[in-house]
């Protein structure tokens, strides 16, 4: 049981200030599988934060809980690719084996099983997190073994190592994935070029952000460098939450040195002394390997004081963990989370380049962007600019999953067609591709010659492939559930609108939908696009609208032809009463008027 000694040990790992709140809570959760009430009180006192605010943070992040969630907490990844690979049946099977209701903790407090948003294992799903550790390639056999292990109360650390193997699945390499070990070379080149020289090369390269928005990286770094402030910060965004995206996971596994090199080059360019890698909680298993690489870099004089012997060039990187909140991939929400708060996107302007972490100038870039920046610092911008298209220079790392023979990581020069990717990954009979996850675009077979670049299909590079067997309504339904689950709740349109959308899609799925529901979807889409606070809300209706536009019959097939149909079924509502009384005669039924 919790004791004060435990807490002091946990608190000692982090600076004793409000910014550490989320990190301390993550540590407590890892030890106790929840945040005991008395520890929440002590944390509030230790960090001088109102208790209600501590509770507010616990309530915001889905991996933190104030009530025990079982000594074994299993979270099935609920991405559409997991579902296509049979995750729902496997979860039911596991719950059956454990005599457990999904979402509830077993009465003996041993285990709970529920779903979570995409955990980034789409190329090797179905997958789940067992006390935070990913298990891939779930099969009925694995589920049986897991049930036995839980019943035997075997610690997760003792489960078969094979369960936890995460494959990289690199299928096509280009400039970035072909780059060799990067231990100081790009940094030395950056030091030779100087801060201005580095930024000039980024501008010559026309590098644009790889998180999907495509903001020019050189312009961002220059704006940050020139913004007035007491301190500057570099933040690596490894909160790869867009369902279907997992390329940063592979970059963090295979090219972490390149990432840290890029972040250090950025520190040099903008004059930062502190950097953060914001690592999504789902990738917690990468924390120790990443810490080890940081330690090696410190030992090699690539981090710390007087980097590579340059007096005054002091910089270090701390890793902050997320705790299950897609919205923290949005840069200003990420900064709020870094500050230990609820991950609510800020009002902008001002933007993070002038008012970021602790209101100081901050560069937040995607993992892949920093990797590309390191390569540009090393080899210069002109060679990079020569690759790709007019407005999208360089290469893009794609996450490919769904219905294809070879899901995994593909790096192409920008401008590659969707058709080319489909051919290379062995996709046949494809009817649609979701590009860029639920907030991206769904395209049909007549659009497969469209190109992946900022001029055409701009995204963070996730392709989820649906072949002819798939019902795209199921995908749209899954995406609306995702947005409702991940809305931060700050603004009215997104908080209420995503819940309403989920409601409407459930009504259609249950066979009670009418044209009225389709009209309401269109109405909600307009409201969200026009008035939501951030990109999550703006795009929450996109997949449904795209699929309605391109695959309307899959929706209409489910509709009743009436103009209005109540969401409840009067006769169905009597089913329980009939079961209890043992009656099933005509008088125990209500016949709906035709």
């Amino acid at each position: 049981m919790p004791s004060a000694v435990d807490l002091d040990t946990l608190l000692a790992r982090h600076p004793r200030r409000p910014e550490s709140l989320l990190q301390v809570l993550c540590d407590i959760q890892a030890v106790h599988n929840h945040i005991p009430a008395d520890l929440a009180v002590q944390v509030a006192e230790a960090l001088a934060i109102p208790l209600a605010r501590v509770r507010g943070v616990i309530g915001f992040y889905s991996f933190l809980c104030s009530e025990p969630a079982g000594r074994f907490r299993l979270l099935f990844s609920d991405d559409i690719t997991d579902r296509m690979a049979g995750s729902q049946a496997l979860m039911s099977a596991l719950c059956g084996r454990l005599w457990l209701e999904p979402g509830k903790v077993s009465e003996d407090g041993l285990v709970s099983v529920t779903t979570t948003s995409c955990i980034g294992m789409c190329d090797q799903g179905p997958a789940l997190l067992a006390n935070g550790w990913p298990i891939t390639r779930l099969s009925p056999r694995r589920i049986d073994t897991i049930a036995d292990l839980i019943r035997a109360e075997a610690p997760v650390a003792d489960w078969p190592a094979e369960f936890f193997r995460v494959a990289d699945h690199i299928r096509r390499r280009d400039r970035l994935l072909n780059s060799g070990p990067m231990v100081g070379a790009a940094l030395a080149a950056g030091l030779a070029r100087g801060p201005e020289g580095v930024i000039v090369q980024l501008e010559r390269a026309s590098l644009r952000g790889r998180g999907g928005a495509g903001f020019p990286t050189g312009r961002k770094w220059r704006a940050c460098r020139e913004a007035p402030g007491d301190a500057r910060y570099v933040v690596g965004n490894a909160d790869e939450g867009e369902p279907g995206t997992f390329k940063d996971r592979v970059l963090l596994t295979r090219h972490a040195d390149l990432l840290f090199e890029g972040m250090t080059v950025c520190a040099l360019a903008i004059g930062a002394r502190q950097g953060f890698l914001y690592l999504r909680g789902e990738y917690r298993y990468l924390l120790e390997p990443l810490q080890a690489i940081l330690a090696q870099r410190r030992a090699a004089g690539l981090l710390g004081a007087a980097i590579q012997g340059r007096a005054g060039f002091d910089f270090d990187i701390a890793i902050h963990l997320g705790a299950g909140a897609y919205i923290c991939g949005e840069e200003s929400a990420l900064i709020e989370s870094l500050e230990g708060k609820r991950g609510i996107p800020r009002n902008r302007p001002p933007f993070p380049v002038t008012h970021g972490y602790r209101q100081q100038p901050t560069v937040v870039d995607n993992v892949e962007t920093f990797c590309a920046a390191a390569l540009i610092a090393l080899s210069g911008g002109d060679g990079y600019r020569a690759i790709g298209t007019e407005q999208s220079s360089g290469t893009k790392v794609l996450s490919v999953s769904g219905d294809c023979a070879r899901p995994g990581i593909y790096e192409y020069p920008f401008g590659v067609t969707v058709r080319q990717v489909l051919t290379d990954c062995g996709a046949t009979d494809s009817q649609a591709v979701q590009v860029g996850g639920p907030s991206g675009a769904c395209i049909g077979a007549d659009e497969f010659d469209r190109r992946l670049c900022f001029e055409d299909l701009a995204s963070a590079g996730a392709l989820v492939i649906f072949d002819g067997r798939r019902d795209l309504f199921e995908a749209a339904h899954n995406f609306t559930e995702f947005f409702a689950r991940e809305s931060c709740g700050f603004c009215t349109p997104c908080r209420v609108g995503t819940a309403m959308l989920q409601d409407i899609m459930a009504k259609i799925a249950a066979g009670h939908g009418t044209r009225h529901e389709l009209d309401q979807i269109a109405q909600l889409a307009r409201v969200l696009q026009q008035s939501a606070h951030c990109g999550l809300g703006h795009s929450a209706c996109n997949p449904t609208l795209d699929m309605l536009k391109r695959f309307r019959p899959t929706f209409e097939r489910r509709l009743k032809t009436l103009d209005f149909e109540p969401a409840f079924d009067l006769d169905g509502a009597l089913a329980r009463a009939r079961a209890m009384t043992g009656r099933d005669d005509a008088g125990a039924h209500i016949r709906s008027e035709p």
């Binding site: 109102p50 209600a52 409702a484 931060c488 609108g497 819940a499």
Partner: protein, 242 residues
């Protein structure tokens, strides 16, 4: 002085003002709910959404800029606002006829003023227990619209931080800063700004409910579009502030 246009009229503004602040100061109403002249703009309710140079933006957080063309009073934008009000009604449990805030409630007043005449969407009917623990203050989560005015007022004005938010998405909710989580055990006081600032009937003083009869309350007398201007800091020359 610099100016932008609001529905075709030039609105002067001072540096640092937002579109909503400048409009109110100039005697022009833009519907709003979570904005309060005494607090930093929040930008969460989105009722003040306008078209700014053709792009939608929240007027309360949009910095005023010379030459901006703002469209606020259009059928399209008012339609959007009606939907937002319907969303707020659908999300909570708002029964105006039995609510003692009726007539003084900003949400209700906005609904009337914008012409919200139907529910529009299926209501959620959430289960939200009332906190009646405090001897003098009634806390009814059913009516909370999550504008965070009490959160801001309690921290910034009262210096107590009695309220905070927890949960996320549709489960977002107000929490009270006390060990038990009950209002009675918090540091709140009857004269706190956090109590008086609530725009709806979520935080009410006990035992004064119907001191002013229905029919004689603030928005029974004149619609919110006429009265909101009185709350805005304005130069004496423009209006009498009554």
């Amino acid at each position: 002085m610099n100016s932008f246009t609001l529905d075709g009229t030039a609105i002067p503004f001072a540096p640092g003002q937002t579109v909503l602040q400048a409009a109110l100061e100039a005697g022009r109403y833009i519907p709003h709910l979570c904005y309060h002249p005494e607090f930093k703009p929040h930008g969460s309710c989105k009722l003040c959404t306008v078209q700014a140079n053709g792009r939608p933006a929240a007027a309360c957080t949009l910095p005023a800029q010379a030459g901006l063309v703002i469209v606020s009073d259009s059928e399209e934008i008012n339609g959007l606002r009606r939907t937002l009000v319907q969303m707020l009604f659908a999300e909570g449990n708002h029964f105006c006829p039995s609510c003692e805030k009726s007539g003084n409630c900003l949400l209700q007043a906005l609904g009337y003023d914008l012409g919200v005449v139907t529910a529009g969407f299926r209501h959620f009917f959430p289960d939200r227990p009332v906190d009646a623990s405090h001897p003098d203050i009634w806390l009814d989560f059913n009516r909370c619209i999550l504008c965070e005015l009490c959160v801001r007022a309690s921290c910034e004005v009262d210096g107590k931080c009695v309220f905070a938010l927890s949960g996320r998405g549709i489960d977002k909710h107000l929490v009270v800063n006390s060990l038990s989580g009950r209002l009675a055990d918090s540091a709140i006081g009857l004269d706190d700004k956090a109590v008086s600032v609530c725009p709806v009937g979520a935080i009410l003083k006990k035992r004064v409910g119907f001191a002013v009869p229905i029919g004689q309350r603030r928005f029974d007398i004149a619609p919110i579009s006429a009265q909101a201007l009185a709350d805005a800091p304005r130069p004496a020359a423009i209006g009498d502030g009554a």
